[in-house]
């Protein structure tokens, strides 16, 4: 069964350093999402892509976060510089809305710890 791939699974960094996360959605899924999940909370949307275009980045802290999906397939989320409050799980999800189905398929996540 096709899955969403994410790497790395774990990342430890010091504050002020740059970090990058990678996501490869399920083949054929045009819509890709990046979520941040703080321990004990539900996921919160950071950015949504439709193919290579950003649909919603209203909750993305643009002073330090950036996201791209250059060829409309895989995606990278970057934080520069990282802050202590960025420690969280970063989840990527994809969906194929053109099929009429709304459920999202999640990757295993990247656990970020900022020291």
């Amino acid at each position: 069964e096709a899955e969403v791939a994410q790497s790395p699974r774990y990342k430890i960094t010091e504050k002020s350093q740059a970090v990058a996360f990678w996501c490869d959605p399920i083949s054929g899924h045009a819509t890709l999402y990046w979520y941040r999940q703080i321990l004990g909370q539900g996921p919160e949307l950071l950015v949504q892509f439709q193919d290579e275009s950003v649909v919603d980045d209203s909750q993305l802290p643009k002073d330090r976060f950036s996201a791209e999906r250059l060829k409309g397939v895989d995606s990278t989320l970057k934080i520069q510089p990282a802050e202590l409050g960025d420690s969280a799980m970063y989840l990527c999800a994809s969906t194929n809305r053109t099929s009429g189905r709304a459920e999202q398929f999640f990757g295993p996540g990247t656990r970020l710890t900022v020291l």
Binding site: V4, G42, L45, L91, R97, A102, E103, P108
Partner: protein, 111 residues
């Protein structure tokens, strides 16, 4: 901000018992979904109920939706230790393509 609020925040039951989790939300929706998350892992979609549906079943899962009260419930029957996880409701607000998640219910099923 998070639209859904699950209740209770935590639930501990014995294997074989039923588990009921509730979700309330604030705005009109296209559909409501329930997801499961095992500790430290990604979310897995369980079931979706559309705004014009009132009840839906999938195996040991039963979901109800009351749009007049803006609430939903998830019932897991004959629970198993493997059901131990956090359960999240997520709404698909009208006019939006994104999901808004609640804070989740942490379910522990004791063998």
């Amino acid at each position: 901000s998070q639209q859904g609020e699950e209740d209770p925040q935590a639930l501990s039951i014995q294997e074989g018992e039923n588990a009921t989790m509730n979700c309330s939300y604030k705005t009109s929706i296209n559909n409501l979904q329930w997801y499961r998350q095992n500790s430290g892992r990604g979310l897995v979609h369980l079931i979706l109920i559309r705004s014009n549906e009132r009840e839906k079943h999938s195996g040991r899962l039963r979901v109800t939706l009351d749009t007049s009260k803006k609430s939903s419930s998830l019932l897991i029957t004959a629970s198993r230790a493997a059901d131990t996880a956090s359960y999240f409701c997520a709404t698909d607000p009208r006019g939006s393509e994104k999901l808004v998640f609640g804070k989740g219910t942490k379910l522990t099923v004791n063998p």
